[in-house]
Symmetry: C2
Subunit: 274 residues, 2 copies
Amino acid sequence: MPSQRAVFFVSDGTGITAETLGQTLLTQFDGVAFQTTTLPFINSPDRARQTVDYINHMAEQSGARPLIFSTTVNDEIRSILRGAQGMFLDLFDTFVHSIEQELVLKSTHAQGRAHGRNNQQRYNSRIDAMNYAMEHDDGQSTRDLSRADLILVAPSRCGKTPTTLYLALQHGIFACNVPLTVDDLEQQRMPSVLDGYDGKLFGLTSDPERLSQVRTERRPGSKYASLAQCAYEVRQAEQLYARKGVPFVNSANMSIEEIATVAMQEKGLRKATF
Amino acid sequence: MPSQRAVFFVSDGTGITAETLGQTLLTQFDGVAFQTTTLPFINSPDRARQTVDYINHMAEQSGARPLIFSTTVNDEIRSILRGAQGMFLDLFDTFVHSIEQELVLKSTHAQGRAHGRNNQQRYNSRIDAMNYAMEHDDGQSTRDLSRADLILVAPSRCGKTPTTLYLALQHGIFACNVPLTVDDLEQQRMPSVLDGYDGKLFGLTSDPERLSQVRTERRPGSKYASLAQCAYEVRQAEQLYARKGVPFVNSANMSIEEIATVAMQEKGLRKATF
């Protein structure tokens, strides 16, 4: 049995940064079962004291010293949290002071900024992008394709929809997706609604076995889910992408984050000023 | 004009952790325009050397020392990157060694783990949750409501859909959403499909002005978008939530991350073991 360790992500905001930072670090350690708890909105001394009591209580029960990842920015709150019986890993103290020196600028110590609504313009663009993705999912609407930053094309069930929504929600990218039908694949043509948008296209493909498995969950025993059909569609899609010069990736072993990253990189969509 | 500073997020994987960490820290500094560039998949010495050349080239053009947030785990790659002309902020070196000491365990130095597909079970649950959210958006389907971890209810355009999708994609939470119609609000009742699911409900409301603004974008000049109608619906919704004991938040000034965080906390949905 692996050893166990309690982990707390403590934040004055949503806790997303503390989770992301902490979980990334924990993926570097095999053989330990981490029990993680996120404690968001710890934005007053009272809540900080309750947090310390809670962590100490859990630490006593587990017998091992917990890891505490903190992104709280308020000095008083942080000094209360440091009293907890655990290993305190502090994003703010670790990095902010050296950045202050580099920029010759004091930090604001403003709470809850990282995932709040402080950048209204960027926030609205994410919501608009999500609405766009929902309206244009799976070729439902072909209006406004000119507004798309990126158009994903692929045979059914290669990961178009989750990747599109992720691009919208996480990055505010206007993405839509259009399926390649069996007729498109057979005749080696892109759907005609995509005429004139060659530069926006990004293709997905998969492994026949993986695709067959995913399609079987949806329609067991169908020709659609058969290994032969999946192998045919994958082969035809890859040939079509090559003929048309459409960049593509095989999504079989990739996460949506990885697929999105490759697509954004290919289209130069990940620069920002704020 | 604010001063400018180039910022690079360098990663052997998707770059999401480096971006999250770096952007969180940068929100603490007002009065500087940060130009950010994410450089993902820097997973070989060759790519690391190209990255150094690129950063140095950009640094020369801008005249100010760039900030470089790195999450790369490979020692050789990291030592090449440290040669870039910038301030090197290193997640790995900063935290991993002290965690190794705490756990009495060597880290794996495995690349690309944070947002890859290494935890297949968790990954599948996110995709299943997203499919569930899509199928159940806006009360489209009321099958399988028993499978939901959380059911969002609200008048039209209070933020149900983006919050639901975010909960699915980011946290693998099975969430669906059901609109409160004008009839429901008038008669102070929950939609009958929700009978028996009281414990899963979480309500959203908004400010009349904000709601009217959002609805006006969709249907300008309509009764639906009028301030009077929005004020009525908000008042009735809040009264209904109170009568039924449904926890709720006013989403008018909250990000989807904040709404999701409050909802998860209310329902105890954010503990994990991995």
